[in-house]
């Protein structure tokens, strides 16, 4: 089904999209039907800057297993960084 479940977060950083690098302002995360991935549902992340237009977006559609592994890797990486660098 279309789950409509969307988490929206403020974001600081940069992403490289179809027109090159842009400054991020927002990240949306949702579990729903993908546009491209060959799966019924995927964990979708859009890194966006709506002020620069809807095309200022980097999109990924990940299987649930991939998304969980990614989330763990992100947290493990951050946990390994000396505190004074964060």
């Amino acid at each position: 089904m279309c789950t409509y479940i969307t988490a929206k977060l403020d974001a600081a950083g940069s992403a490289k999209g179809a027109d090159g690098w842009f400054t991020l302002s927002e990240t949306t995360v949702y579990f729903d039907h993908p546009v491209h991935a060959a799966a019924e549902h995927t964990l979708n992340i859009d890194f966006r800057n709506p002020e620069r237009g809807a095309g200022a977006r980097v999109a990924v559609e990940l299987t649930a297993q991939t998304a969980r592994a990614l989330a763990h890797a992100i947290l493990e990486t951050l946990d390994a960084v000396p505190e004074d660098l964060i």
Binding site: D32, A38, A54, R57
Partner: protein, 253 residues
Amino acid sequence: MCPMSDAFISATERITGHGGAEIEAYTARPQDSHPRGGVVVIHHLPGYDDQTKEIVRRFAHLGFNAAMPNLFWHDAPGAAPDDAAAAGRAKGGVPDERLVGDVAGAAEYLRSLPNANGKVGVIGYCSGGRQSVLAACSLPLDAAVDCYGAFVTGDPSALEGHPMRNVSTLENRLADLRCPLLGLFGAQDSYPSPDEVAQLEHLLTEHGKSFEFHTYDDAGHAFFAVERPAFRPQSAKDGWERIEAFFGKYLSA
């Protein structure tokens, strides 16, 4: 007598949508002058995509005029369809009121075509299935098809951890259903579940509405989607035949 031509033109056009706004729509129009019905196609939440455009063309091949409004055009006019869908999803999806306005605009466009017979039906898939029923409860349409739409019945807010903020049940709208309804469902689907489909049958019967439901044992959700693992060729083939017969019956002059 000359046989009817099967030529049609498919194109991206501008139509008048909700609130008088100009929106994009994908249309497919048979070129023969013989009067015919029209079909509004409602795309699923991932957006106004190539697969749903193929469905629009299939209706023209079957002899109907067809139009699919880009429901996310309001969120990002002129953007690539997948970017517009992402912008719309970030806002929580398509508001019901706006959906009704855009379907009304597409129906009016179809009625205005030179070879229109005045009859217009609506069909939607997944979230569009619920929206098809919503449109049929809100607008003067002649036939509606719901392909596995969740939350026509059932309470989305009751789902633990699933805050369906912008979606509400249509149970209290079904008394207003204005046209016959064809429902096509998968027995292995959980959204809608077989119990929710049975509840919909019960409510439509109670309200004295005309409907025809088919549930396919081998299918779950999205069994018409040819590019997804859920595709079930036999169920989809039978479903298409039932859609053609249903629209053929109710959209004839």
